[in-house]
């Protein structure tokens, strides 16, 4: 009798726990909707604008790489990149510089986050730091997602988050984003984060351990992952960057790690909850990062327009959701530098600001961070 009673109590407890979990799950149902960026600034009466330069003339480190940029609440911009003796060395830190909206000058680069600071905050060994991307809510809050490894190479990376509540001047404690069941390793960032309408964050990431594929993380503002969607399988494509189109549609472009040597792309009709299979664009890709942004349903992409090296950089546009891409400007032509080394222009990161001006940053010879800005009228003139 007692045995039956114990079993009955156990089953009732399990049922109650299940019901509680069920109710909790419903209360946290995610809405797969986002607001497409405004098309402000897309005014034909504007003057064409194109400007290129560097964030700094003298780098504080001998090697710099993987810049990203974000528009801040004051109308200025902040760029972040990693720099050190060389990629992956223990002295690599994350550096930042601000573009003043009034003077239009970049500030002197400053260390944003060092390896030791990350190790102290996380209470664990940190071997090296890598790619960082930024997200601003336009109200002084900036989220920085960045890669670190504790053991092994980049394929064992994890994503970390630090939040600033003063437009990037000071940064809160680093937390680790729990994104993978495999000891939480092999999640890396490169593409733009964005907000969903319910205030959660979408972060395109990629996996590099054995398989190579893109993923979309959905997380709350504290970095707790609420959902994750696989974008492809096996060893096809990494470093997804996502353009937000109208009507809840998304378009991703990806670095091709396979043999076909062209930029890959895929789309989502439901804000990233499901993805089409990967297709090939007509644009070449030398197994290098690409970046895309959109206004209405037109997309602009920065990419290496060669299939064998990273010594050329160009801009292309698609007005038919990726069916066709047209190159409209050659940014870097490539060749051999003064030191006899082949040129390297890589890791573009392209955004479109609220005033309609595009800002592109990329690694320039691993020595400088290039900054290029242009507007829709300039693009229109190039396409004529």
């Amino acid at each position: 009798m007692q045995r039956y009673l114990t079993s009955a109590v156990f089953v009732i407890l399990v049922a109650l726990l299940g019901a509680s979990a069920w109710l909790g799950d419903f209360s946290e149902a995610l809405s797969w909707r986002f607001t497409a960026p405004l098309a402000s600034g897309a005014d034909r009466h504007q003057k064409p604008q194109f400007k290129r330069g560097f964030i700094f003339e003298q780098s504080p480190t001998s090697s710099v790489h993987a810049p990203s940029i974000v528009e801040l609440s004051n109308g200025g911009f902040m760029a972040v990149w990693y720099g050190g003796t060389r990629e992956g060395s223990s002295d690599v830190s994350l550096y930042a510089s601000n573009l003043d909206p009034v003077s239009n000058h970049w500030s002197v680069p400053r260390v944003l986050m060092g390896r030791q600071r990350v190790a102290n905050d996380l209470g664990r060994h940190i071997r090296k730091l890598g790619n960082a991307v930024l997200l601003s809510d336009g109200q002084n809050n900036v989220w920085m997602f960045f890669v670190s490894t504790s053991v092994g190479g980049w394929s064992t990376s994890a994503v970390n988050l630090s939040v600033s509540n003063d437009d990037g001047q000071t940064w809160g404690p680093v937390v680790r984003v729990a994104s993978s069941p495999f000891l939480n390793v092999s999640t890396l960032v490169k593409g733009h984060p964005f907000f969903y309408t319910d205030g959660t964050i979408g972060l395109p990431v990629y996996h590099e351990l054995l398989g190579k594929f893109g993923e979309l993380l959905r997380m709350d503002t504290n970095g707790v992952v609420l959902d994750k969607q696989r974008m492809s399988k096996r060893r096809a494509a990494i470093q997804p960057d996502i353009a937000l189109l109208t009507n809840n549609q998304m378009h991703a472009v990806l670095r091709n790690t396979g043999s076909s040597r062209v930029v890959l792309q895929q789309s989502s009709e439901d804000a990233g909850n499901s993805w089409s299979s990967i297709s090939e664009t007509q644009l070449p890709n030398p197994d290098a990062a690409v970046s895309v942004t959109a206004v209405r349903d037109a997309m602009v992409m920065a990419y290496n327009d060669t299939d064998d090296d990273r010594d050329r950089m160009a801009l292309a546009m698609s007005r038919d959701k990726g069916n066709t891409w047209r190159k409209f400007f050659q940014l870097e032509k490539g060749g051999v530098g003064e030191d006899g080394e082949k040129d390297e222009f890589s890791y573009p990161y392209l955004i479109r600001a609220k005033n309609g001006v595009y800002h592109l940053v990329y690694t320039w010879q691993r020595k400088l961070i290039a900054h290029v800005s242009f507007n829709d009228v300039w693009i229109g003139n190039r396409l004529q």
Partner: protein, 188 residues
Amino acid sequence: MNEVWQILCVVLLLAAAGAFLSGFAGLRKYRWVGMMLMLLIAIIPFAETSIWLWMRGLIGGLSILSFVLLTGYLGLHVTGKEVLDRKTRSALYATAFTGGLLLYPATLGLSLYDPYRLGFGIILAIVVLGLSVLLWFAKRQLAAVVLVVVVLADQAQLMTSINTWDYLIDPLVWIIAPFMLLRLRLQA
């Protein structure tokens, strides 16, 4: 909570490694010393790090199944008494092995569908609770209770993750599971 859990997991893992190495060296009587020695060695700093920090960097936190099985292993060697009986261990290792087989190959990119996503919703938690009821009526009551604890820990958000898979299994227990199942079978 997450921080405490991670520290506890690393302490447990280091102590278990110390106990295992002592036994392996034929010093079964001195397992206590081996455990303590391992913990002491772990906190000695070298080259800007330590085994302790390195382990924390490597594993973060363990799953509930790993934690319970490690506790059982240590309990046996500290008290000399079997904390987890053979049936319970067998059920837990079988759960870990089967779960890992369903999860890890797909997670590493073998399929387009990622079963890890199931752990963010209610489905996996319900499956785990269903399995716990089955184990209960299969007279593996302790294993059934452990699975209920898995869901409880998930609901209480013991770790940073809210994914049930992270509370159920981790790669360490998955890798060890087939060997332990074989050993249990051979001992039977």
